[in-house]
């Protein structure tokens, strides 16, 4: 019983699309050897099947598995425990009893027969050559093999090496077939890299009657941009991890931390030294900050996703402003800041998505309240422009924003040197992305008496 002192050899975690998110060493090592990446799709075929099965069944599986990792035959025992949807819907993997055995070396002829068979099946272009390697006929399934076909039609019956460009073979043609077998080449009209195989025909390998020529491409022919799009999509799915998987799972525990800290802070369960109550207050505010960050990161993923779009509906900007002011009323009161709302007007209807407009306004008014001096005024006004646009502005009486800062303020994670605890530096960035998605814009400017004014412009309705 060798190695039996380590029954639990390795640990891994997958997500709801069977991608390995993390793994301990032996498992990670095999996964990487099999051509995988972390995070990335499970590259161990047998393991992928098991994880997929466990996830779809929703059942805990326990099986032995065997895989060739390019060097050795690795066998082991794996237990796969699917996780519930609210913690990501992936699986936990426990691999034990890993054992490596060198793969038995197979008979050379069997190997080469198999390689020939694989090449025959994957060759997109096949040809028949006579004993002098002159082309007799050509059969092509490749879309980019037309150039070669034309060249052959124009001048048939030449040595095959005249139709293709052989790499690294400068010797005078014709060469012995063994030297050409496996040569790399390029074809007229094809951007791909090819490999040539020459398989002798006839009874004796020493004096072949002719040859089978196979041309095998290194990579499949993809439609332009397709491969790039695929890899981009994959990347994006990873990026969506926080919003779709992490945020739902974290919301509840964070809320609990905040609620408990608030309870301690307000000494609900009995007397407590003021210092401890203050510490609890710090915990609560840090928890709230974390909560805001989380929501912002989730939003960030949404607005940055390819194909993100907003609904097109009629939005009354004054109505939206009133609601936002209502939501933030308490916060404004706490700092004795008065919110001035726009007067009713007929031209306040814009085209956009109501909840997104509200989200932007809450962000703008919230910022204005946070960065204005106590007892000042935040003014919200609506204006319709002539070019089919309507705008709503939020002006405060704070320090204002310099030209330089105005350039940077809408970039990701920019907090302009403010060191208060709240805010992730994402709010304005997200707001501007949302405005752009609604075919509008968000900009900042000075007001005459020194404060900052943020202006959201949207297409007017009607």
């Amino acid at each position: 019983m060798e190695n039996s002192d380590r029954l639990l050899a390795s640990h891994g975690l997958t997500d709801n699309q069977d991608r390995l998110l993390s793994a301990d060493d032996p498992l990670a090592d095999i996964h990487l050897r099999c051509g995988g990446s972390i995070p990335g799709a499970i590259a161990i075929p047998e393991l992928l099947d098991l994880v997929n099965q466990a996830r779809i069944y929703g059942l805990k599986l326990a099986r032995d598995f065997e895989v060739y990792d390019g060097q050795d035959l690795v066998s082991g025992f794996v237990r796969v425990h699917p996780q519930s949807e609210d913690v990501g819907g992936g699986c936990e993997i426990l691999v034990e009893n890993l054992k490596r055995t060198p793969l038995a070396i197979e008979d050379e002829r069997v190997t080469s027969d198999r390689l020939n068979l694989i090449d025959r099946n994957t060759a997109e272009i096949a040809a028949r050559l006579d004993r002098q390697q002159h082309l007799q006929f050509l059969f092509s399934e490749a879309k980019d093999g037309l150039g070669l076909k034309e060249a052959v039609e124009q001048e048939p019956g030449l040595n095959w090496a005249n139709y293709v460009a052989l790499e690294g073979v400068s010797h005078q043609q014709p060469l012995h077939w063994r030297l050409l077998d496996g040569a790399r080449c390029t074809l007229p009209g094809s951007k791909r890299n090819w490999r040539a195989r020459l398989l002798p025909l006839g009874n004796t390998i020493e004096t072949p009657q002719g040859f089978e020529l196979l041309l095998i491409a290194d990579e499949p022919l993809t439609r332009a941009g397709e491969a790039e799009k695929l890899s981009k999509m994959d990347e994006q799915n990873h990026m969506r991890l926080i919003g779709s998987s992490l945020a739902p799972a974290l919301r509840q525990p964070i809320a609990r931390v905040v609620a408990n800290a608030e309870t301690i802070k307000s000494k609900l369960a009995g007397p407590l030294r003021q210092e401890y109550a203050d510490y609890a207050g710090n915990i609560a505010s840090a928890g709230q900050h974390l909560h805001v960050m989380l929501e912002d990161l989730a939003d960030l993923e949404v607005v940055e996703a390819e194909g993100f779009s907003t609904a097109r509906e009629k939005v009354d900007l004054i109505d939206a402003a009133e609601r936002a002011a209502g939501i933030l009323g308490v916060r404004a009161q706490a700092r004795q800041i008065s919110l001035t709302l726009p007067e009713q007007s007929k031209d306040s209807a814009a085209i956009g998505e109501f909840r997104r407009v509200l989200q932007i306004l809450i962000n703008l008014i919230g910022n204005a309240i946070a960065y204005s001096p106590e007892g000042s005024e935040v003014a919200i006004s609506v204006e319709s422009a002539l070019n089919g646009k309507v705008s709503i502005s939020v002006a405060d009486q704070g320090d204002g924003i310099s030209e330089d800062d105005a350039q940077r303020i809408f970039t990701k994670f920019e907090r302009l040197g403010r060191n208060q605890d709240d805010g992730s530096g994402l709010g304005l960035y997200i707001s501007q992305r949302l405005a752009n998605a609604m075919e509008g814009d968000l900009s900042v400017s000075h007001v005459p008496d020194g404060g900052a004014q943020f202006i959201l412009t949207l297409p007017a309705a009607g």
Binding site: M1, L7, L8, A54, L59, L61, A62, S75, E96
Partner: protein, 320 residues
């Protein structure tokens, strides 16, 4: 039958259906006598004996009972609610329609049958074997715990076979899954409240790694090269022997069990040869399982790879 006298000038759909149905009825009736004869004549050594059929029936009924009880428990709150015997028998029949589940139960019934016979004829303990004893005494804590779990699981198995039971958690995951599927399509299921909840609960309490077969597989895997030692029937006991045979030949465990039946001698010989056992070692296992049966000479000349290739081509691999 009266086919020839019928008016064939006006064939109708109903006629075709009835004819078809009648033909099927004929087949069924014609089948009764041969099956009865077969059972009467071969009650001992045949692959389908009354004992096996009765066991199979009991196991299916037990599966049905557990499913119905799970529904009742979720809906009624606690305790083991009574199960309507009619519904249970209907559900058991419905479950029997899943041939893979049926085959698995059949193999387990055969395992129970064979291990009982081995106990009777050669005194092989169906629960505790020298190998399990050795594992329990292992200095490695985890191995020792695993072996104790195996001991408990195996004694539960022997017990449940005597009672003709089939615990749900002992099914392999695929079968558990397909059993749940099959259950969903049971007509009596429509009235059950919160059926999804029942399914969820059953699924979450399932753990293949804790099942008897799962524990055996873990042990075989943990023994690594030592697993070959488990191919010694007297040392390992029948259950572990079968798991080792299955693991080392990459055959389903069901097929490994069935290869120990006296009508499957070639399958057993090939399986053992695949693991690299020599003629003498194979003969020793045969003496225990099938005393008096002669092995063909020259097994040693057959390479393990050849034996594996022959096994892989055999037909039942598709069923199991």
């Amino acid at each position: 039958m009266g086919d020839a006298n019928m008016d064939i000038s006006a064939p109708s759909a109903i006629e075709a259906i009835l004819k078809d149905e009648l033909k099927r009825g004929d087949l069924a009736l014609n089948g009764v006598a041969p099956v009865l004869t077969h059972m009467l004549a071969n009650s001992g050594g045949s692959l389908v004996s009354e004992a096996i059929v009765a066991r199979l029936r009991g196991m299916l009924a037990d599966l049905a009972r557990q499913l119905l009880q799970a529904t009742g428990a979720v809906n009624a709150g606690s305790g083991k609610p009574p199960v309507d015997p009619d519904v249970q028998s209907d559900l058991a029949d419905h479950l029997a329609g899943d041939s893979v589940v049926l085959s698995h139960c059949y193999a387990l019934a055969m395992e129970g049958h064979l291990s009982e016979r081995l106990e009777r004829k050669v005194g092989l303990d169906p629960v505790m074997s020298p190998l399990v004893q050795e594992l329990i005494a292992s200095t490695n804590q985890e191995i020792a715990e695993l072996a104790i779990a195996i001991l408990a699981a195996q004694s539960r198995f022997v017990q449940s076979q005597k009672r003709m039971e089939m615990p749900l958690g002992e099914l392999p995951a695929e079968l558990f899954h397909s059993l749940m599927r099959r259950w969903e399509s049971f007509p009596g299921q429509i009235n059950v409240e919160d059926f999804e909840g029942v399914l969820e609960q059953l699924k979450s309490s399932y753990d293949e790694g804790a099942s008897r077969v799962g524990l055996f597989a873990r042990a075989i895997s943990a023994m690594q090269k030592g697993a070959r030692a488990a191919l010694e029937l007297e040392l390992a006991g029948f259950a572990l022997f079968v798991s080792a045979l299955s693991g080392l030949t990459r055959q389903p465990r069901e097929l490994a069990i069935l290869s120990c039946h006296e009508r499957q001698l070639a399958r057993l010989a090939l399986g053992l040869r695949t693991t690299g056992l020599n003629e003498q070692e194979i003969e020793r296992q045969f003496e225990i399982l099938h005393p008096g049966q002669m092995l063909p000479d020259g097994l040693d000349k057959l390479l393990p790879e050849q034996a594996q290739a022959i096994l892989n081509k055999s037909d039942p691999r598709r069923t199991y």
